[in-house]
């Protein structure tokens, strides 16, 4: 793994600026370390001959200045680092959210591992926090590790070439040992930490499943089992740690032995009179400084991997190309679905990473004012067809056109303005009821919002809310029932007042009484519009009925005409 991902500098201007500041601060810190050692050595040697404070006042003052400068540099470095971390996090977060939005809802839903939004949310919030220690601890230490050892080596070498040689020979041992021991233990340690993490996951699984375990009399044995397994993992982990800690041991030992070696060697030459006291002190004071940053950067290994991993996760998403030609269509033939017919010709849709096509060879004509029902088993491709019409996804082959124009050539905004959509499980935003209804038109007047709510049958329950239309709902506000959520979604669609209405099983999660009330509002909404309705239930079919099974579309044997129609189910089962 690279110590510094070049993409971090490419994607974040703040990171570039910060890196320069860190290098400057690192050089300043190095200079101050050398100055402090020289002054200290000079003072101790001068005082040894009985020189008093009066004579040494200048040097003492200079030392005070150096110490103050080091404190200031420490403070400044920390503040710059934390500010830079905040700025970089902000820049990455904005790029990430912008890009994810460009990738669209299809990308968020269609990962092989299921819905992605949870993991991206975590990455954009808590995940990026791993960059704090990366910037505040690891990077400054990395710069110091690159500068200080060489500076010290040169300074010591100039004062006493023999000690310089000792340091010069032992210094490379530190990274060498670190790499050797690291190579040996890294894989083992990582496996062990992963096992421990999995053990934590297992514990969570057991705790969440306690009611089920209790029902089958397995809860008490599980508690003992957790204790036993944790104990076993402790033994196994300690066995690996015994080896893993060897790396730190070797590094410390090398540094300490080198210091001892230099101290003794310098001491013996001092004894023989081959060297001055002040030079000897300088060498003694500087020698540990050469090893310190190398060891410290190793200690920040964890911060470096976590920060780099978080950044790499962000880059993996940022490097995902935005699909589709449509997003870039700048010109547009005006399209009006009140008069234009939609045609699907040989449309095929396949999501990346899936073996099977979601839709195959779909042909369909939707004329203005048509009422169409799509039915078929779960996962057959009903919602995928709506996704195509909403342009969340694009066909891999075939053509969708409206009024004779390829959909891809119609500007996305203009196209979607013609559509109102009522999803299966509508999302309510953390905002007021009014803002949720006015999602498509934030400028809508309160009267217009209230009219839409009335038409959706939501007027009654909204009036009963503590602050009426200003009541906060969604994530951190009031929880609404499934029926109320659907009514809000219907009100959205009413306010949208679009010629094409897409209904994705709006009653699927509702109990029967609520569903029948919803149907009344739906009847008002569908009147006079082109409607495509996805439905499981033969009772709620309207107009022409199409059956989708394993991605293939076929029209039902006869036109459905009412609640007694069972054609759809007969074909499906």
């Amino acid at each position: 793994m690279k110590p510094l991902d070049p993409r971090l500098l490419r994607y974040s201007a703040a990171a570039r600026g910060y890196l320069i500041v860190t290098v400057v601060l690192g050089l300043a810190a190095t200079a101050l370390i050398l100055l402090q050692a020289s002054l200290l050595a000079h003072l101790l040697a001068a005082a040894a001959t009985g020189t008093g404070t009066a004579v040494l006042a200048g040097s003492l003052g200079a030392l005070a200045l150096v110490l103050a400068a080091r404190a200031a540099a420490g403070y400044g470095g920390e503040v710059t680092a934390l500010r830079a971390a905040a700025a970089v996090k902000s820049q990455l977060r904005r790029r990430l959210t912008d890009h994810v939005v460009k990738l669209g809802p299809a990308w968020l839903c269609q990962s092989p591992a299921g819905h992605r939004s949870g993991e991206v949310t975590t990455l954009a919030t808590r995940g990026l926090d791993a960059l704090d220690p990366y910037f505040a601890r690891y990077l400054p230490q990395l710069v110091l590790a690159c500068v200080v050892p060489f500076a010290v080596l040169i300074r010591v070498g100039l004062a006493d070439w023999i000690s310089g040689v000792v340091i010069g020979v032992t210094l490379p041992l530190i990274p060498l040992f670190a790499i050797l021991v690291g190579l040996h233990t890294k894989a083992v340690t990582r496996r062990q930490w992963r096992l421990l993490a999995r053990l934590g996951g297992h514990f969570l699984d057991v705790v969440e499943g306690l009611p089920t375990l209790k029902l089958f009399g397995r809860a008490k044995p599980q508690a003992e089992e957790i204790g036993r397994v944790t104990g076993e993992y402790r033994k196994a982990t300690m066995a690996t740690l015994r080896v893993a800690f060897l790396s730190a041991f070797v590094l410390e030992l090398a540094a300490a032995l080198a210091t001892a070696l230099v101290a003794v060697e310098v001491g013996l030459r001092l004894l023989a009179g081959h060297m001055s006291y002040s030079t000897a002190l300088l060498v003694l004071l500087l020698t540990p400084e050469a090893y310190l940053p190398l060891r410290a950067v190793g200690a920040q290994f964890h911060a470096s991997t976590e920060g780099a991993a978080a950044a790499a996760d962000v880059f993996a998403i940022l490097d995902t190309p935005v699909p589709g030609r449509a997003a870039r269509a700048s010109w547009s033939r005006p399209v009006d679905l009140r008069t234009d017919t939609i045609r699907l010709n040989g449309v095929r849709l396949a999501y990346p990473g899936r073996d099977r096509a979601a839709l195959t060879d779909v042909n369909m004509t939707i004329r203005p004012g048509d009422q169409v029902t799509l039915t078929g088993p779960s996962g057959a491709g009903k919602s995928s067809l709506l996704a195509l019409l909403l342009r969340f996804a694009e066909p891999v082959s075939g053509r969708i056109e409206a009024g004779g124009t390829d959909l891809a050539a119609i500007a996305l905004d203009a196209w979607r303005r013609q559509i109102a959509w009522v999803p299966q499980d509508p999302h309510l935003f953390a905002a007021s009821v009014a803002a949720n209804i006015a999602l498509g038109d934030p400028e809508a007047s309160r009267e217009a919002v209230a009219r839409a709510a009335q038409a959706a049958g939501a007027y009654g329950f909204i009036a009963d809310l503590p602050q009426g239309y200003d009541t906060e709902i969604g994530e951190r506000g009031l929880r609404l029932s499934s029926g109320q959520r659907q009514q809000i979604a219907l009100a959205r669609a009413f306010l949208r007042d679009a010629p094409l209405l897409l209904l994705d099983e709006p009653a699927a999660h509702l109990d029967a009484a609520t569903a029948s009330r919803l149907e009344e509002s739906l009847a008002a909404l569908t009147a006079g519009r082109t409607v495509i309705r996805v439905s499981h239930d033969q009772r709620s079919t309207i107009g022409r009925v199409f059956i989708i099974d394993r991605g293939r579309l076929s029209q039902a044997a006869r036109v459905a005409s009412g609640p007694k129609n069972r054609v759809a189910l007969a074909v499906v089962s």
Binding site: L82, S90, L210, F245, L257, A263, L390, R416
Partner: protein, 585 residues
């Protein structure tokens, strides 16, 4: 063995620390090794100073030979002791973790599920688990470093005291400031920053969640820019706060440097003055100066330790809150023997009120479950159906009325024994992150393959399991995410059938399914439960013409009871439900 009990009126951390008592030998060894390692580092520099200062006086080599040996021994000793400290402290941490886990698991086992209601919402439970995991850091980073620092600081100060008393005063003051004052400042600044940033973090989380979970709606309604604007505003607010709190955080790094610099300078000044006045030789001057220089290594880890203790305190608070929750169900001291089959259960005027609630969840419930009979408990969401199941599972105590099992008081049995006779599927059954076989065998650990296959067949799962490439050994993923909703419900049903209890209770076995799957599963479970004593809890009236009795609950009370044919024309709640569900009959 161990139990987490909140210290009466005491600090929640004390409760955690008490867990480490059996390991105090290891903890002591860890601290001593740490102090030894750190002390060896200080002594190494001081001895080297002695060596050079003495050598510069050009004495006989014998005069410095002890120092030469000592320097070498200290440099080796430091590494060895540091290694020992790391091993011991990690060992203690893992042992404590195991104990906390077991103690929490035992407590949660007694609480589940009724007593856990307060902890189940959102990610509270997840956080509780990470709190338990966080206790391992408490010992490694929070407890050992301060104790180590006290020992090393005291040692260094004593050494200087023997040489030059005023310098020892300066050193002690400096170490105290860097070891106590700076960590306090750092921890306070961090706490204040976290508190100030909490609302901004919440808003950012909500904005991003809305942006991503509501992505389809935002696109469809052309509101993407508005969603992004909200995220950007939240990000700007949080970033602004982080920039402002950076100054406070930087203070920690700056203050430590100021204090250590001042101390070094003070000790040096006093030393040089004493040397100039002829009170102090060059050797002791070098020793005290280098001691003061090296001693601050002992306190550098303390600001981090203070932060760790602050975090551990919050974790300990939450753990103590769980530990302090009273058990929801009373256990008899001398329980009746295990109930024998056949089993009859009856509720008379039964009521349940959950702790802290002002009203009864259910009241005046009469219910009879007799061998071979199937009873359905019907009602809208929130009518109290699952509460009746909880009372029968002995997850909740009755607050009124009686519950009898084979004629004896239900509360007089050991709750675990009751559940060998009365069990099944609770609402939202948990599917474990394990194989299909393990998930099923949970209900009967000694079940043979034939028994497993029979239960799976009754739940109409066998064909599908055998068609899988890994068959019975297919992992189902966390919460069974690798399965469809219908497969999860069928797996839970198969588990309940495998347990083969005297009384089978199925709480909303068709929840979260689409109508097609609901109908198919209902038909299968009615076939599988024919001739068993069963309590079927549902809000869906499909197939209820096949059960012996239907009890309709409405707002916690029995509204009506009878068979499907009686109730469907009774003009009550049931008829309204039936009409709303468009029942053609």
């Amino acid at each position: 063995m161990t139990a987490i009990t909140p210290a009466p009126g005491g600090h929640p951390l004390i409760g955690l620390l008490r867990l480490a008592r059996p390991m105090r030998r290891e903890l002591l060894l860890a601290v001593l090794a740490g102090a030894g390692a750190c002390g060896a580092g200080v002594a190494l520099l001081a001895t080297s100073g002695f060596l050079l200062a003495r050598a510069s006086q050009h004495p006989d080599i014998v005069a410095i030979s002890v120092a030469v040996v000592l320097v070498r021994a200290l440099s080796v000793g430091r590494g060895v002791l540091r290694y020992a400290e790391r091993l011991y402290s990690h060992d203690v941490a893992f042992r404590v973790l195991a104990d906390v886990r077991v103690a929490m698991c035992r407590k949660l086992e007694r609480l589940a599920p009724a007593g856990l209601a307060a902890f189940r919402s959102g990610d509270v439970l997840t956080r509780l688990i990470s709190d338990v995991d966080a206790t391992q850091d408490l010992f490694i980073r929070g407890i050992a470093p301060p104790l180590t620092a006290v020992l090393v600081g005291a040692g260094a100060t004593t050494a200087v005291l023997l040489i030059l008393a005023p310098a020892a005063g300066v050193l002690a003051a400096g170490l105290l400031a860097a070891g106590v004052l700076v960590p306090l400042v750092v921890a306070t600044a961090a706490r204040r920053a976290a508190r100030r940033a909490a609302p901004a973090r919440g808003e950012l989380g909500a904005a991003v969640t809305d942006l991503l979970n509501g992505s389809a709606e935002l696109h469809a309604f052309g509101a993407v820019e508005a969603g992004l604007d909200r995220t950007r505003a939240a990000d700007a607010e949080l970033t602004g706060l982080a920039r402002r709190s950076a100054a406070a955080s930087g203070l920690g790094a700056g203050l430590t440097a100021v204090v250590s610099g001042l101390t070094l300078w003070g000790v040096l000044l006093l030393g040089v003055a004493a040397t100039g006045a002829g009170h102090l030789g060059r050797v002791p001057l070098a020793v005290i100066t280098l001691t003061a220089l090296a001693a601050f290594e002992a306190v550098t880890a303390l600001p981090a330790a203070a932060l760790q203790l602050g975090q551990a305190r919050s974790a300990a608070d939450r753990i103590a809150a769980v530990a302090g929750t009273p058990d929801p169900v009373c256990r008899p001291d001398h329980p009746f023997p295990l109930p024998e089959r056949p089993v009859t259960v009856s509720l008379r005027g039964a009521g349940v009120r959950y702790r802290g609630q002002a009203t009864d969840a259910v009241r005046d419930i009469d219910l009879d479950l007799r061998p071979g009979r199937r009873v359905a408990l019907v009602g809208a969401t929130g009518a109290g159906k699952s509460t009746v199941a909880a009372a029968l599972f002995r997850f909740a105590d009755l607050s009124a009325g009686t519950a009898r099992l084979n004629g004896r008081d239900l509360a007089g049995y050991d709750p675990d024994d009751v559940r060998t006779a009365i069990t099944g599927c609770a609402a939202d059954p948990h599917i474990f992150d394990a194989t299909i076989r393990d998930n099923l065998r949970l209900a009967k650990p000694d079940a043979g393959d034939a028994e497993l296959a029979a239960a799976a067949d009754q739940a109409r799962l066998l064909g599908w399991i055998e068609s899988l490439p890994q068959g019975w050994d297919t992992p189902v993923g966390t919460h069974g995410t690798a399965l469809s909703g219908g497969q999860r419900q069928r797996l839970a049903l198969a588990r309940a059938l495998l347990a083969d209890p005297a009384v089978l209770i199925l709480d909303e076995p068709t929840a979260h399914l689409d109508p097609e799957n609901r109908r198919a599963l209902t038909a299968d479970l009615l076939a599988a439960t024919a001739g068993r004593s069963t309590l079927l809890i549902t809000h869906d009236l499909e197939g209820l013409d096949q059960v012996d009795e239907i009890v309709v609950l409405d707002r916690g009370q029995v509204a009506e009871r009878g068979t499907h044919s009686q109730l469907v024309r009774a003009g009550g709640v049931y008829q309204r439900l039936a009409e709303a569900q468009g029942d053609p009959r």
